[in-house]
Subunit: 123 residues, 2 copies
Amino acid sequence: MREGLQLDPPGNAKRYEVFHTDCPARDVVDHVTSRWGIWVLIALLRHDLRFFELRDSIRGISEKMLAQTLRGLVADGLVSRTVEPTTPPQVTYALTDFGRHVGEPLSDLFARITQGLPPRPES
Amino acid sequence: MREGLQLDPPGNAKRYEVFHTDCPARDVVDHVTSRWGIWVLIALLRHDLRFFELRDSIRGISEKMLAQTLRGLVADGLVSRTVEPTTPPQVTYALTDFGRHVGEPLSDLFARITQGLPPRPES
DNA sequence: CAGGATCCTATCCGATACTG
DNA sequence: CAGTATCGGATAGGATCCTG
């Protein structure tokens, strides 16, 4: 299904030249803006969290989706995973520099939507 | 499935207090970060576009999803729809102030991911 | 050109059960 | 505690056809 995305007819489509989503950035964007990715990032933006803390913070997320989302974010280099070999095991998730860098506009987005929603603060 | 999200046990969950996604902002965030919403917004951030221009810009999107995405964004007050009663009909989509306001961090997000990805354009 | 309606498939995602 | 594996229902989304 990716096939149709990056074809680039020489003559006519150049005008638009938007972001034919050919690059790997597309996948990262997909992960970041996935159903749960954004919430995980925003949560981690505030402070590092363990698995169950994330699960409790983002109430409604299933462990499956949390694990899956985290795996994607770790693979993308946005989140770091630290295992403390204690008993019981303790795994802490934190944002990498890149993750923090990406998380900022996300937090901003959330703030703008939240504040922009009320009937209209404008004069 | 929304039921489990906003329940608020008085005693124990207050610590996390993140964003229990109870508010309408959740829906807007969902639309904005939907598979195609982000690309539509970024495309419109550059200049107003007609339906087929959007379809061509975001190659890979189906007309169905484009229409559906646009409907959601219009309903959310992010995008305006202007119909010129010519023949053939001509419909132009543009961002509202709110849409532009929300689109900015999105564009920023995309830029940061794109720039952050390459091995390191350093030097 | 700008979509709506329909059908049908891929995938998302939650629930459950099990492992280190 | 921190996950993985599997199953099945729900939904997203693409292809196609049709309308104003």
